[in-house]
């Protein structure tokens, strides 16, 4: 309420000042556009003068000699200050310019009345102290101070922001909103007036009526002198957090409180607050912007060093009770904008007493079809708004009429391409696959239309005839790999209901059929071609089970993964891109015919996931990697993941497009899909386990609108054969202020996007430089942020970062240490690295965060509790070795595996109870399987695992057990996942923070 009030009063005195210091009044472009007045919506026209004013005001202080610092309130200094005060003050206070800024302000200062105390530290004392008392390194006093979690020295601050409350008290200062525009106004000047500026900026800030008398001011000063940081930060309420860091780099004690560093122990924070501000937006689980504030100008974009974009999860599972409403427009047809084809949404406005509607994306006035007409009430709202979900909800589904169908909805079809060479037989793979598929037959989506087919291959292709009139499937072998042909015109892909018994008898006999197979070759390429021929009419899903390197026919691959010499050279990245263009061409063909490919890879040795995965990458598929698959240990994982893949609700034959308002444009897309035109993503199959990320760019140099709208539209065929359009609509404000962008930043989305960009960069660059780029981005953005705040608050020795991005440094460190980007040749096998990279490209935000920063729980303490209390008492721990107690039992969950770590001092009975065997007799823990044993502890333990698995059904976490000190397994499995610890060549969290801090300061 206050800013508008101030904005309505553009103080005329502001202009003279700018004239008076012409040299200083060169507002850098971002500045002019940005300006301190963060919320221009109401003040439209008046904003620009304000934007210009502050720098001018800054300049005004150039003149006065530094001796004015102390602010003796003496008459001479007052002169310049009085004149220069109004411009900066204008927007906030109705303070009369004549008022002596340093005199005790009348308590009746309207705008500040709400938060007077927090202002106090900003009255005269601080500036006087900084340059003079503290001297050059204002940092030194901070070094002494323990860290952010120190109680505030003054109890003056009143954290008001909603964000402030959630955090440990002192570092987050809730600041009254009206002041923030004020502070942010100043910073851009900083680069322009480097060193000596701070002292003079302070006075400007103190201009706003000091609500306290001189006595009070001095009191504050005293307090300030003691723990300076707290005092300074008092009024920075809400905006940022800071960390005290030693100013003496290199000293043994880094001066950082390790425990005080921010850690995302609560996992992902969905920006649900936004739902309150924008209740018509779709839920953030479907669409998240990296910052919910679109920059108004190019210059602002260039100062926002983090990616600007969004993460879209179009089919995210919605909790019960929030099902997506389905709308059928019937004969009216789907209502869309004539020009930009936007679907009708809650942000569309109606005009001409309801006969027209204005598209919120392109502002075109469209006719409302007669069937859809409804009168408007006095406020221009349709009477039936609440009855129509498309006008009141951000997420809806439309039933698509015939125009949206190129062909009738195809039945869901599953085609299995199974490698039956010797390694697959030996590892027990065939048996698990056959059993799992058989158990899923009842649950395959799309009954009774579902189609199914199988093709097995080694050095030859084996087709199987499932004609419903047969009692046993017929196998036909095609040995000609150069010119693949289909031995039968149909009955290779059959209706499951009709041929159920044939399919079942095939699956029963599959393991035995190839039991004695000693063929080591694998003709994947020709098999893919054959599968394509079978499926090309209908499309559907192709599941490839590959257990060796493809060695025959077209698409054969070489062993190239174990080339140590390539690492660190310019050729390093070529190992991570597909070697043979065949796979990408094949993928393009598959997508064109609506076939999605899922790769299941089981090889012990190198199997070139990089090449195989590109099939999944361009067809909207997924890569599952089970290194050295052995049925007894990995069987469960494969079984449950294959089960999930086959039975989850899938959207077929889909295309997705994201429209956005004028001025912005989505430029790059990251995920598994094929780009059909510049902005149309072709997705042969898509489900709730896949998310997409995209980057945004500004098309115009200056945005004129106040809000930008986004609309995600996914046109798909459901398994039941309905053609639907799922539409998510969201709005985001346009801001002219960088600090607002920081405030609305969404760490989860940023990390997700950054991670995908990094993985993509690793396909064209060395791992090392990818990691450096990540670090550079982080440093640049924190530096920019620092420039916004640090100087006038003189917290030079501290690392400051926005509250919204407090976990970003740790997450970026975690990305650098993630399976896909970690280390070099020896740290991760090439296949695992590529598989992790493919996973990171599709994981939704929360699962990605859990993947790069796994959850660590101490389990032994909760095992003895009552079963129903266990869930609540499981606490996530920081990922550092210091948290591991040798007498404890820990569980690490990264979404793909469970790692059970047994401390050295753990009571043997406990171990025996849980593992069901004596540890001493079981030296090799890698083959161990956890089964529920008949005792309380084991039951509780398995219950914990079950609840954790239920949280994320998309993958089945394989449970692995490791003992403390059991090298090298411990190092590989656990220690490399302890992201906060120092590993070979990587820094620990503390070092990382120090490193970032040093770089932001330079």
């Amino acid at each position: 309420m206050q800013p508008p009030m101030g904005n309505e009063r553009p103080p005329p005195p502001g202009r003279p000042v700018s004239a008076f210091v012409p040299g200083a009044a060169v507002p850098p472009p971002p500045f002019a556009a940005g300006g301190p007045f963060a919320r221009p919506p109401q003040s439209g026209a008046t904003a620009p003068p304000f934007g210009a004013a502050p720098p001018a005001a800054m300049g005004g202080f150039r003149g006065p000699p530094p001796s004015q610092g102390p602010f003796g309130a003496g008459p001479p200094p007052q002169g310049p200050f009085t004149t220069s005060a109004p411009p900066s003050q204008g927007p906030f206070a109705s303070a009369p310019p004549s008022q002596g800024p340093f005199a005790s302000a009348p308590p009746s200062q309207g705008p500040f009345a709400t938060a007077p105390p927090s202002q106090s530290p900003f009255t005269s004392p601080p500036p006087s102290q900084g340059p003079f008392a503290a001297g050059p390194p204002p940092t030194s006093p901070f070094a002494a101070t323990p860290a952010p979690f120190r109680p505030p020295p003054l109890s003056l601050a009143q954290p008001q922001s909603p964000t402030g409350g959630a955090l440990p008290p002192p570092p987050t200062y809730a600041r009254p909103p009206q002041t923030q525009g004020y502070y942010t106004g100043a910073p851009p000047a900083n680069p322009q007036f480097p060193m000596s500026r701070p002292a003079f900026q302070q006075p400007v800030q103190t201009m706003p009526p000091p609500p306290m008398g001189p006595a009070a001011t001095f009191g504050n000063q005293a307090a300030y002198a003691g723990p300076p940081v707290g005092g300074t930060l008092q009024s920075l309420v809400e905006d940022f957090q800071s960390l005290a860091l030693s100013s003496a780099p290199g000293s043994l004690d880094p001066g950082v409180d390790v425990k005080g560093l921010p850690r995302p122990l609560d996992g992902d924070e969905e920006p649900v607050k936004l739902m309150e501000a924008y209740p018509l937006n779709c839920h953030p689980r479907y669409f998240r912007l990296t910052t919910h504030a679109i920059p108004a100008s190019q210059s602002l974009v260039s100062r926002w060093h983090l990616p600007l974009g969004a993460v879209v999860h179009p089919l995210a599972e919605s909790p019960d009770g929030e099902e997506v409403p389905v709308i059928n427009f019937g004969s009216a047809g789907v209502i869309r904008c004539r020009r930009c084809r936007t679907y009708i949404n809650p942000y569309a406005t109606f005009a001409d007493s309801g006969r027209k509607w204005r598209c919120n994306l392109c502002t075109l006035l469209n006719d409302v079809p007669g069937e859809y007409f409804c009168a408007l009430d006095a406020s221009g709202r349709r009477y039936d708004t609440d009855q129509r979900p498309e006008l009141s909800k951000g997420t809806v589904e439309f039933v698509a009429p015939t125009e949206y169908m190129v062909r009738p909805p195809m039945p869901p079809s599953y085609f299995f391409l199974i490698d039956v060479s010797v390694s697959a037989v030996r590892s027990g793979l065939l048996e698990v696959v056959a059993k799992t598929i058989k158990s899923c037959l009842n649950e395959l989506p799309g009954f009774p239309r579902t189609q199914i087919g199988f093709l097995t291959f080694d050095s030859t292709l084996h087709f199987h005839n499932f004609k419903s009139s047969l009692s046993q499937p017929q196998m036909m072998v095609v040995a000609d790999l150069d010119d693949v042909f289909l031995p039968l015109p149909d009955d290779l892909l059959v209706n499951l209901v009709d041929s159920r018994h044939v399919v079942e008898s095939f699956l029963d006999s599959l393991p035995n059929m190839f039991h004695d197979n000693v063929n080591v070759e694998s003709a994947l390429g020709p098999a893919l071609k054959a599968a394509f021929m079978v499926m090309s009419q209908i499309g559907g899903k192709l599941l490839v089970f590959q257990s060796t390197l493809p060695s025959l026919g077209i698409g054969r691959l070489r062993l190239r993964g174990d080339d140590v010499r390539a690492y660190g050279t310019d050729k390093e990245h070529t190992l991570r891109v597909p070697e043979d263009p065949f796979y990408k061409q094949m993928a393009a063909e598959f997508t064109k015919n609506q076939i999605a490919v899922d790769i299941f890879s089981f090889s012990e040795k190198y199997s070139d996931i990089a090449s195989l995965g590109s099939l999944a990458k361009y067809t909207g598929g997924q890569v599952y990697h089970y290194p050295s698959f052995q049925a007894p240990t990995h069987g469960d994982k494969l079984k449950l993941e294959l089960n999930r893949d086959l039975t989850r609700e899938t959207a077929w034959e889909s295309v997705m497009r994201i429209r956005c308002g004028k001025g912005v444009r989505f430029t790059t897309y990251h995920g598994h899909f094929m780009l059909r035109s510049t902005d149309l993503l072709a997705l042969p199959a898509v489900d709730s386990d896949k998310a997409f990320a995209m980057q945004l760019s500004l098309e115009e140099t200056l945005m004129t609108t106040q809000t930008v709208y986004f609309q995600v539209a996914l046109l798909y065929t459901s398994s039941s054969g309905e053609r639907r359009i799922r539409v998510h609509t969201a709005a985001a404000p346009v801001v002219t202020d960088l600090s607002e962008m920081y405030r609305q930043a969404d760490t989860g989305a940023i990390v997700s996007l950054l991670g995908r960009i990094a993985v993509e960069n690793s396909l064209s660059d060395k791992l090392d430089s990818v990691r450096q780029q990540l670090q550079l981005k982080l440093v640049r953005s924190l530096k920019e942020y620092r420039n916004l705040y640090v100087v006038q608050h003189r917290i030079g020795g501290r690392l400051i970062f926005p509250e919204s991005l407090r976990f970003l440094p740790l997450y970026i460190l975690a990305i650098c240490k993630s399976l896909a980007l970690r280390g070099g040749y020896a740290d991760v096998s090439l296949d695992e690295r590529c598989a992790a990279g493919f996973s990171m490209m599709i994981l939704p935000v929360n699962r990605l965060l859990n993947f790069i920063y796994p959850s660590l729980y101490r389990v032994d303490e909760v095992l003895t509790m009552e079963p129903n209390k266990i869930d609540a008492s499981l606490k996530r721990l920081p990922l550092t070795f210091q948290c591991l107690d040798t007498g404890g039992l820990y569980l690490l969950d990264d979404g793909f595996t469970f790692l059970v770590w047994l401390g050295r001092m753990l009571p043997p009975e406990l171990v025996n109870n849980i593992l069901g065997l004596t540890l001493a007799h079981f030296p090799d823990l890698s083959k161990i399987q956890l089964r529920e044993c008949d005792n309380e502890l084991s039951r509780n333990f398995m219950k914990i695992l079950r609840t954790l698995r239920e949280k994320d059904p998309s993958y089945h976490q394989l449970c692995r057990v490791v003992r403390q000190g059991e090298q090298p397994r411990e190092g590989y499995l656990l220690l490399s996942n302890l992201v906060e610890d120092q590993m070979a060549g990587t820094s620990s969290y503390v070092d990382w923070i120090l490193q970032i801090h040093r770089q932001t300061q330079s």
Binding site: N328, T402, M405, D490, N495, D498, E722, R723
Partner: protein, 218 residues
Amino acid sequence: MVKLTMIARVTDGLPLAEGLDDGRDQKDADFYKQQAKLLFKNLSKGHHEASRMSIETGPYYFHYIIEGRVCYLTMCDRSYPKKLAFQYLEDLKNEFERVNGNQIETAARPYAFIKFDTFIQKTKKLYLDTRTQRNLKKLNDELYEVHQIMTSNVQEVLGVGEKLDQVSEMSSRLTSDTRIYAHKAKDLNRQALIRKYAPVAIVIGVVLMLFWLKNKIW
């Protein structure tokens, strides 16, 4: 051999079901599908045709039957016996009515009964080979008066609508033109009348005026 099978509602041309993987190894399938859709549209406009009809198009024939506001259409080779084709459609009709009969009117979305395609698929297979015992028997049956079914060309059928439209348009233009003509003629008549008698009337008027003035003055 049956190439294409489509089922649509006659009232509005809404497609209800379609045979699966029709058009395999057939490059012009899309063209004929388009034609079939046009045909449905034509039917829905209410140019009511016979309830059974064969329409020749290129190397194929469309055969359709309309029953209970639903049109069952199939496309076959020219050589495929008409009798079998209609028998096939009859089979589809019976099953479709049995399964979905009461929902046909309420179906709101296209391909609402797409599940029917499995039945289409199965039935189609029975009719694939014309020389099976079963089909031969059917061929010999004289149950259906197939030879009475009209045959026409697709261009004609699709063109008929257009021509009719043209004729009605022309006739309506003719009526409106006549009306204008009549109006104009009346107008002209009036003008001619005025032109003819106006001078006389004016002269008489002047004379009368003079008389009147003379009376007044005198």
